[in-house]
């Protein structure tokens, strides 16, 4: 039987983009074959749209319209601008690993500390590590990332390693209008303890670019990871990131995501609690204004008994901005004594601001504690009046209350330096607003 694929105009453009990018895509013949299959999987679905349930609030066909061609390899000027852009967000003492326009920039990066080892995705694919392009979770954007990933980091943390300083992965865009496709894998050994920071930053001259990232992260038994992701891309940019997390037994994972940039963004996380006695804490903060659209979607899969998951998601939405939070907790048959809760709180600063919350619980075990809750509203008038009666002008009073609202999420970060960095990102947003 012949299947005729009806191609849309953008479909034909994508085919051209993939073909034209061939020589930029590293990998052996086997890797190229995996890429081709991934691209076909993408082609069958195309850009996600509102009739796909998981994407109903974030229709990329409307919001992103097209996938931009791959950015050129960064030249001297691009690297110079990238170096300037990373300076204000670099954490003192952290080992910086820098990707510029989708390409690892060794000259801007630090050596990884003892107990950690690193190669680039490019090197790994050139030696045939095709498994780096495969994931259990799939959707069109994950497939597209596998097809087009140009570079990324492949990091191993040896068993029992305790890193004193954070690893900081910095994605820097320097292009006015193009795509960067990156993909990284981080494996954290048994009993290791790591702090990882991910930044998305626009350098001077970067505008309506697209950052497409995928992260494959595994935690061994009794491993501990604190991950802070700070997305402060250009307000004209798009960011689509898919992150897959696998946790072993008695592991502890704290995730903080701050979305404060991008015209359109989607951060989709897939967490599998695969070992008993693990603990997951997720704090998400969306800070959006203008006509920004920010979507955080999390799927938490309790595959085994005795795990705990907590999600607290906060959004501050001004002007005509749109914040989306979707959280799904799956409790598999036999995953008894699961304790899973999620909470979303939206602060709407204007009449046209929009928040969509979609919590979902799928529970197939009978001895569990699960729940979700949501609130949405404006700033409390009584609190505002109290502050104004003490002399704070309206915008300053608002800023103080917004800071308090966001601060509640950030206070949970145990590491002082990291908490300061995350707080600073939130304060920059507030200052820009006032």
């Amino acid at each position: 039987m012949n299947v005729v694929l009806a191609r849309t105009e953008s479909g034909r453009a994508m085919e051209g983009l993939f073909t034209a990018s061939r020589d930029r895509l590293p990998g052996t013949a086997r890797v190229s074959e995996i890429r081709r299959q991934a691209f076909e999987a993408y082609e069958r679905a195309g850009l996600p749209h509102r009739r796909i349930e998981e994407w109903k609030y974030t229709d990329l066909r409307v919001l992103m319209r097209e996938v931009r061609p791959l950015a050129e390899k960064p030249d001297v000027s691009a690297l110079r601008r990238a170096a300037a852009a990373l300076k204000p967000v670099a954490i003192e003492g952290a080992a910086k690993l820098v990707l510029v326009d989708g390409v690892f920039a060794a000259e801007l990066s630090d050596k990884v500390p003892p107990g950690a080892s690193m190669t680039t995705l490019r090197e790994a694919l050139e030696s045939g590590a095709g498994e780096l392009l495969a994931t259990a979770a799939t959707d069109a954007m994950i497939s597209l990332n596998a097809a087009l990933a140009t570079d990324g980091l492949v990091i191993e943390i040896a068993d029992g390693t305790r890193l004193a300083a954070p690893l900081q992965i910095m994605h820097i865009a320097t292009v006015a209008s193009a795509s960067a496709f990156t993909r990284s894998r981080v494996r954290i050994g048994n009993g290791a303890r790591v702090t990882l920071v991910e930044n998305f930053v626009a350098a001077e001259g970067a505008k309506s670019y697209q950052a497409h990232d995928a992260v494959l992260l595994s935690l061994g038994d009794q491993a501990e990871l604190t991950l802070a992701r700070l997305m402060t891309d250009s307000v004209d940019a798009a960011n689509v990131t898919s992150a897959m997390f696998d946790l072993g037994a008695k592991a502890k994972f704290d995730l903080f995501n701050v979305t404060a940039g991008g015209a359109v963004s989607r951060y989709q996380g897939f967490v599998t609690l695969a070992g008993e006695g693990s603990e997951l804490n997720v704090n998400g903060v969306n800070l959006l204004n203008g006509s920004q659209h920010g979507d955080t979607t999390l799927l938490i899969d309790h595959a085994v008994p005795h795990c705990t998951s907590r999600e607290v998601f906060r959004a501050v939405i001004d002007d005509r901005a749109h914040s989306v939070f979707q959280g799904r907790i799956i409790v598999r048959p036999g995953a008894q004594k699961t304790d899973g809760k999620m909470m979303t709180r939206a602060l709407l600063l204007s009449d046209e601001a929009e928040a969509d919350n979609k919590p979902e619980l799928e529970i197939f075990a009978d001895d569990v504690t699960c729940g979700h809750g949501a609130t949405a509203g404006a700033l409390d008038e009584n609190l505002l009046f109290y502050l104004r009666a003490r002399g704070l002008p309206e915008r300053a009073a608002q800023a103080l209350l917004i800071q308090a609202f966001v601060g509640e999420a950030i206070e949970g970060i145990a590491d002082d330096d990291l908490r300061d960095v995350v707080m600073a990102a939130a304060e920059r947003w507030l200052e820009a607003r006032t």
Binding site: D380, E381, N382, L383, F385, Y386, L387, R388, A389, R390, G391, L392, P393, E394, A396, A397, L400, L401, Q403, A404, F405, G407, E408, E411
Partner: protein
């Protein structure tokens, strides 16, 4: 000498109901006025309108503060000019430390008056002195504004702010509500320490009890949105005997 506060024939509506029907009151620097009256007489409305709380519509009359039209000013401008309302129910603000809040508020007031902002060390020194003089424990300053404070601690925090901001007009709205006699005495001592020839106070209360501790120069009785009688401090004692019923029928 110009009066500090002049309320002239003030008429105020909330939604479709008129609450104040032509209220007049003159307060000079150095004076302490008590405003008494039954529930619903409009006492708190008067305090809210002076401080600039949204939701009240002034349909007639005026309020002059140091000769300036107070009703034209935003609440924060009034604070910077020296109007201070001690709230009946101070709000809790989780996530904002008392320390941060006080520093931001003091500097906002100073900035509005064209004064230099106060640095953190200078502010720390000042707030510690004030806290010590009022027996406010230091750890209260580190906690969220009023979060987990007892009724007495909340009121003491209001008095602390009054001492810190040094307003020329203090309006104390039902300061005694929710306080036991010891807490009341501590708060009242704090207020009395702030009495000065440059400062006026308006003490709003339902009960005479508070006026044993903060002794007023003048007492006004409000009923149904008006001042129905005024006198010296002995008027409060008379009311204690006779109650408000005589005015309800007026």
């Amino acid at each position: 000498m110009m009066a500090l506060l002049e309320v002239k024939d003030l008429q105020v509506r909330v939604e479709d109901r008129e609450i104040l029907h032509g209220l007049s009151l003159t307060v000079n620097r150095g004076e302490v006025h008590a405003i008494m009256g039954p529930n619903g007489s409009g006492k708190s409305t008067l305090s809210h309108v002076i401080a600039g709380k949204p939701g009240y519509e002034v349909t007639g009359g005026e309020i002059l503060f140091d000769g300036q039209d107070l009703l034209e000013m935003e609440p924060d401008e009034r604070a910077a000019k020296g109007v201070f309302l001690a709230f009946q129910y101070p709000v809790e603000i989780p996530g904002v430390t008392t320390w941060n809040f006080l520093h931001a508020a003091l500097n906002a007031q100073r900035k509005a008056r064209g004064e230099a902002e106060m640095s953190s060390p200078a502010f720390l020194k000042k707030v510690r002195e004030v806290a010590k003089s009022l027996n406010v424990p230091q750890d209260m300053l580190k906690r969220g504004v009023n979060v987990g404070f007892s009724g007495g601690e909340k009121k003491r925090n209001e008095v602390l702010q009054m001492a810190l901001f040094e307003p020329s007009l203090c309006i104390l709205d039902e300061m005694d509500s929710g306080l036991d006699i010891d807490a009341l005495r501590i708060a009242a001592d704090g207020v009395n320490a702030l009495r000065s020839p440059d400062r006026a106070m308006v003490v709003i209360t339902h009960y005479q009890r508070l006026l044993n501790y903060i002794v007023p120069d003048f007492v006004h009785v409000m009923s149904r949105g008006r001042v129905v009688t005024s006198g010296g401090k002995e008027l409060a004692l008379e009311l204690e005997e006779s109650g408000y019923a005589q005015f309800e029928d007026a």
